[in-house]
Amino acid sequence: MSSWINLYNISYAIGEFLMGIVAAILNFFGQWIGPLSDFADWLMSVNVLNLVAIFIGGAAVMVFVSIINLFIIMWIERKMYGRIHDRRGIMLPGPWKKTHKGTGFLQNLADGMKLIQKELITPKNADKWMYDIAPAIIATTSILAFVAIPFSETFYVANINAGLIFILAILAIAPLAVVLAGWSSNNKFTLIGGLRGAALMLSYEIPLILSVIGVILLSGSLNPIEIVHAQQQTSVLGVENWYIIPLFPAVIVFMVALFAELERLPFDLPEAEAELVEGWLTEYSGMRFGLVFVSKWVRTYAGAALITILFLGGWSGPVLPGELWFIIKSYIVFVIIVWATWSFPRSRIDQIVRIGWNWLIPIAIISIVIAAAFKWVGWF
């Protein structure tokens, strides 16, 4: 039953309705002007409607990911690390309580407003093209990752067969923009930051992908939806076999690599604010900075969603609808990420590269062996 109520079909229906209105109007005028009727017919053809449906579905996911969800996760992070610091966190602007003990939910909106008003400064000797395009690359690739991330069986933009590869690939583009920004800003601090970003990418992409191989082995698919389906089958233990149980080492490797990928605190070397001012972001101001800053959260959420899909059984869960389960699980992962972020000092570049090669890659390979063993025994 639920197979036809998916985001695509709903968007298709909405698109059909809207285009129907347009076509009706055109047909009305077509009584006098012939070609308009033909145009209306073309508008109602399946191909155009498909395109419109994809636009509408994409817009829905974008709105969810980059507005509603983004505000919620930013609020969670800022409130939560406030509490970790024994502070109250943001509290003044909020829709529900106007006093100083409010929720502060709209603080991020206010910050965004402030950033939009700021002047966009381009350094005199910067390479203007590269300098302008780097934040755009980061922002677009971060949001583009959500094209292939299904929020439930029915809520997704595109059901890509090699979706996992697509997500990992699109998330790996950002470090390129980091190098670009660091180089083009024409500043020594940004240069060091950008090159550190490159070093980080080289050493952490590999464990990230190796740790996913176990999942692919067990599920036999690269499609996120298929991976979740594989996890929904009952295992020998009598519960759904979420891959966190057999592949626990892989989860840890994936988490650690994700921290480096997201430039979060233990591994936020490219923008170590104590030593490199703001790293590769030093010269950016206004909404250029804001875009990058916001897409960091988008990417973090993408990472949390990826962990949910790969290891935590995606949207499977009792009673509640799948989308809600997915969001609950990904928020829990996100909270753990925030908690870890604010507990550790920043590590040094050579140390984290060494951790990456000496610890994470062997553990990831061990997890592949475990996955292969399970597959061989036939438990999964």
Partner: protein, 359 residues
């Protein structure tokens, strides 16, 4: 990659204060470094020649706002030596209590600056929270939170309030418990150990040659603490131990400072128990003549004040020896061959205070 010069300062998140560290880096490796001082020169020594002896005490407070009491105290005991003045016992104990409260507050401020250098912003807020308790105690005892103006030539400004020891014991209990818990966050933390161990090693010989003092020297396995080496006030009657680190790296400097906070708590407890009754201030002679020269253990190192009086209202000359100014000379030695990220840890472990460095 070829070498390049980076100016870390005067406005840079690394330098807590207004100074400039020029580093020549080869990739991430520091090849050469030159500390540039003088951005905050206020001519304190000259100002002292225009004020009378009591008006200098608040000025000395402003040498270093983080540990202001130690400086005004150093000035007071130098002038007392010049006058040949004997301070009453109760005043000595009160000074020790105030000094140690100040030392803990100062070390906590150091922790609050050092931890964010390593990226642990959480620790900044924790230690600022703990510092608040000590500032409260200082406020109650001396009347101000930051620039206390508490020691006087010939004693202290006022006696301690009734009920001070009880509340102080309570705060110390709280703090000692917290200090034990900090081990989880720092000592046990593998990433913290990785960042600090074996970094910025300063050998004992180098440290002695370059005039390094204070926790940086004691971290290099050299148990020289002015409180026992050249005892002043009543430190030799109290029950405590000098903290020494073995390795001379950032971690041992960290460990020395953490140990000193613990020892300071012990000193305060002991002093509050042993404090005798009596007056807290004696009359100081006016218009003294002679020379006074005393060194004390500031929370950053050896603070020395040399004062000459020639019978006027104000001293003829006053010379300040700042510990950080001497340590700055050791900075290039410590930094050579480390990476840019370690530079942070090393400079953080030195606990720079530009206020008394530039005077």
């Amino acid at each position: 990659m070829s070498d390049m010069w980076i100016n870390m300062g005067p406005q840079h998140p690394m330098n807590h204060g207004l100074w400039n560290l020029k580093v020549r880096v080869d990739g991430e490796i520091v090849v050469e470094s030159i500390p540039v001082l003088g951005y905050l020169h206020r001519g304190v020594e000259k100002l002292c020649e225009k004020r009378d002896y009591n008006q200098i005490i608040p000025l000395m407070d402003r040498l270093c706002y983080v540990s202001s009491l130690t400086w005004s105290h150093a000035y007071c005991i130098s002038v007392e030596e010049m006058m040949g003045l004997e301070v009453p016992d109760r005043a000595k104990y009160l000074r020790v209590i105030a000094l140690e409260l100040q030392r803990v507050a100062s070390h906590l401020m150091w922790l609050a600056a050092f931890a964010p250098d390593l990226g642990m912003f959480s620790a900044y807020l924790y230690s600022m929270r703990e510092r608040e308790h000590f500032l409260d105690m200082l406020q109650w005892l001396t009347g101000a939170r930051m620039n206390q103006n508490y020691p006087r030539i010939g004693g202290v400004r006022n006696d301690m309030p009734a009920g001070f020891p009880d509340r102080c014991f309570k705060e110390l209990d709280y703090f000692e418990k917290k200090l034990e818990q900090y081990k989880q966050l720092f000592d046990d933390n593998k990433l913290f150990r990785m960042r600090t161990m074996g970094v910025g090693v300063l050998s004992k010989e180098d440290a002695l040659d370059l005039g390094v003092t204070g926790p940086a020297l004691r971290g290099s396995n050299c148990p020289i603490d002015m409180r026992t080496h050249d005892p002043y006030e009543v430190y030799d009657e109290l029950d405590w131990e000098v903290q020494v680190g073995k390795e001379g790296d950032v971690f041992s400097r960290y460990a020395v400072r953490m140990g000193e906070m613990r020892e300071s708590c012990r000193i305060i407890r002991d002093a509050l128990k042993k404090i005798p009754d009596g007056p807290v201030r004696v009359k100081a002679p006016l218009r003294p003549t002679g020379q006074g020269f005393r060194r004390t253990e500031d929370s950053r190192g050896e603070a020395l004040i040399y004062v000459i009086g020639q019978g006027g209202e104000s001293p003829y000359r006053l010379k300040i020896r700042s510990p950080i100014f001497a340590i700055m000379r050791a900075v290039p030695v410590m930094l050579k061959g480390t990476s840019v990220a370690d530079l942070l840890a090393i400079m953080g472990s030195v606990d720079i205070c530009i206020g008394d460095t530039d005077k």
